[in-house]
Amino acid sequence: MNRRLRKRRLVPAALLSVIALLSSGCSEGGGDGTGDGGSGVDPATEGGPVKLGILGECEGPFGGFHEDTVAGVALAMANFAGATVSSKTTALDGWTGAEVNGTPIELVGIGCGDDTPDTIRDEISQLVEQEGANVIIGPLSGDEGIAVAEYAKAHPEITVLSGIAGSQEPTLQVQAPNYFRFHGDGAMWNAGMGDILHNKEGWDTVAVIADDYSFGHTSAAGFIADFCGVGGEVTHRVFPPLGTTDYSSYIAQLPDPDEVDGYFWVVGGTGTQAALEAFVNAKGDLTGDQHAGNLFFNPGLASALGTDIAGAYVGGFAVLPGDIKTPEIEEYLASADETWDTLKTGLTGGEPGPPSTAAGFGFMYGYYSAGVALIRGLEATGGDPSPEPLQEALANLTLDLPYGEISLDENRSGIVDVGLSQLVEEDGKIVQKAVAIVPKVDQSFGGTFSTDTPPPSRDFPPCETADLPWVGNEIPVENGVPQE
């Protein structure tokens, strides 16, 4: 090789690197120059604005719901902080004019997650350390929630309000004092299912198939704790990886229909239908009296799998089943339609559709709840976004929201009402009807889960009887009307 060339080769690369780092290094915002190993941010000081970052998910299994997440926050700003959305056809353009007690709420950025902890950690770093966000709303998904809670724990100068991440760990195990969750977790959303299936439908044994990640574990754990708590037995636990396309090998691990009273499904995203189809191919038709599932079990499955699925019970989510109508719910849904003409949401398949369609689903509602909590928290502090007063105010909030009142437990996780439903056939179509509301569900499940127990996993919790506070206290719902 020509040595002269070798000697000179490093020079252009070095110059380019130096120019790049100096130019970019001088233009960033939020640097404090302390090098303290923290964020290098200049968090909001008393009297400053709220610099709000939203953690959405524009890629990955839930990438279609990116618009929904931002819309939830924007709707809260429009309804309660005097904001005007910047576009009538997309929420991603943000808003202007949001203000609480004279403190403006500025949207400084929207993070784009992909359901992985690494990406969401990069996104929150960027929002906080580059854009100077002092309040974060998000994320959407379970594993992301753990990563964000860990980040929040290391950065006490920011305040994080979970979007709709439903894993148990962020609040019960990580316990970041500045991470607030004004919604339930995946386990809580299945509270009461065991009572119905064991005591009402007579299931004694059940096989559980769940996504192998934190939300799948949490959701399955809630059902197992509930079903076993009232005396049922979980005979099989099968955990296919999230994003599996061929479920045949996992279905083969399930017992045959004559060996078990029922199956409980916690398979979400694109996997729900694929897993159920694999079951049909391997073990026969799906029947409503032998199958139930968490929130992913929806009427849309019937179009591919047939109406025999009628009768299946479905776990709850952040919102109550759609047939429950109250003036507060109607007003909330109408406000979404007034705020935007159309939105391209996950509920409308990414095509322009009525905003209320998305507003009635848990993803948008979770972010809406977080937005309302931020506004109420700021009202309580007189508009001061400083971490200490704001976090203290948030911890003591009780939100009166369209789908029910939400307060926080000592770990800053929501205590919520859970609406359980059933798929029923009406005029040849499968629809979802509410059957019960389980009031005041908290994370502990009567002590099954605590700060001293491990997080939900493939083999935790064990199948044991327990005293569950809501057994026998579920509020029945008939024709969309709670009977109490």
């Binding site: 090789m1 929207i110 990563a147």
Partner: protein, 354 residues
């Protein structure tokens, strides 16, 4: 080597660059240093092992991120005293560092020995299989990870301070660059390049071809493991998705963007990648032309395509061509330095079949 030989323009430029990078936190220790540059240096440190194996051994490896991941998982398992997942051995952090590097190096040696008799596309596919097996292993074996990974990992002192972690990344990157350059001039490095160019002839001359490939692969695994430690200290967690096929390809793309025949290209490619990843959506009105954050991979894809069209030897190759166009040194087909005793030009990175 004499001081006079060390005082080359390339070494001087490297020294200036390192000094500048080390001095940068005094000017600004914020996001650009603790996020952008640190991430780029870590990516570069992983990618340079691909460059080394490709340019000196003719082996394009897709297993380098796996080795970074193994080091991260092992450190997390060994260092954490308690946690939701993993072994929680609670060892002193520097013992955990040694343990992580020992395991990573041992695994790299074993996997390298298995792959040492393959070349070209077969080697590439085998290392891809390694990566997939590693991902599946950590996703399925809950004893050491499980799908949720290992969280709450804390770096040993003094690297809890992210500026110190940045310094470590700068120093280790410089050391890795110098070491890989130096290895090319050692007997081992020369033999390795001989193995790359004509393994049959080298075998006939009495060189142990599989052993040279195995040792090179092991060295690459060790350096990637060092980068993996920096990475897990920087992120505070690691999970199977961190070493899945997507990030694996990103590391290869970084090496290609910078120039897979140039050691310095690894860091240049990493810097470009991280800058694009971080700042693309900050460009005014970029979303109006459809380049929303969810289309970042499209931007990277177009970038790689453009670079491949302009210069198969990446950004450093482009810079070289620009410099030559200004009447600099005479053109050369070589991208990796060869010893002065080399009698004939050698095309790098060919990985010919034996």
């Amino acid at each position: 080597m004499t001081a006079r030989r060390l005082l080359t323009p390339a070494n001087a430029a490297l020294a200036v660059l390192v000094v500048l990078l080390l001095a940068l936190p005094a000017i600004n220790s914020g996001f650009f240093v603790t996020f952008v540059l640190t991430q780029a240096l870590i990516y570069g440190l992983i990618a340079v092992t691909i460059v080394f194996l490709t340019s000196h051994g003719g082996m394009i490896s897709l297993a380098q991120l796996l080795f970074a991941g193994i080091a991260g998982f092992m450190f997390g398992n060994a260092a954490l005293e308690s946690g939701a997942r993993g072994l929680n051995l609670g060892w002193p952090p520097w013992v955990a560092v040694l343990f992580a590097l020992a395991v990573t190096t041992a695994v790299a040696f074993l996997l390298g020995a298995l792959a040492s008799r393959t070349t070209g596309i077969y080697f590439l596919m085998l290392t891809l299989v390694y990566g997939v097996i590693g991902y599946t292993f950590f996703a399925q074996v809950v004893t050491v990870s499980g799908p949720g990974g290992v969280t709450s990992i804390v770096a040993p002192e003094p690297f809890t301070d992210r500026v110190n972690l940045y310094y470590a990344a700068v120093v280790l990157s410089a050391l890795a660059y110098l070491a890989f350059r130096a290895i090319g001039r050692t007997n081992f490095g020369l033999a390795l390049q001989g193995v790359r160019d004509d393994p049959v002839r080298m075998s006939s001359l009495g060189f142990n071809v599989p052993l040279h490939r195995t040792l090179a692969f092991t060295l690459g695994g060790f350096v990637a493991g060092v980068a993996g430690l920096l990475n897990v200290w920087w992120r505070g967690q690691i999970d199977p998705a961190s070493i899945s096929i997507g990030p694996t390809l990103i590391v290869l793309i970084i090496a290609v963007i910078g120039g897979i025949s140039y050691f310095e290209g690894a860091w240049l490619g990493a810097l470009v990648y991280v800058l694009l990843d971080t700042y693309t959506d900050s460009i005014p009105l970029i979303d109006r032309i459809g380049l929303t954050p969810d289309r970042f991979n499209t931007v990277i894809g177009l970038m790689v395509l453009l670079i491949m069209v302009l210069s198969p030897e990446g950004l450093v190759g482009i810079l070289e061509r620009v410099r030559r166009g200004r009447g600099g040194a005479s053109p050369s087909e070589h991208s990796i330095e060869l010893p002065t005793t080399s009698p004939t030009p050698v095309q790098t990175g060919s990985g010919r079949e034996p």
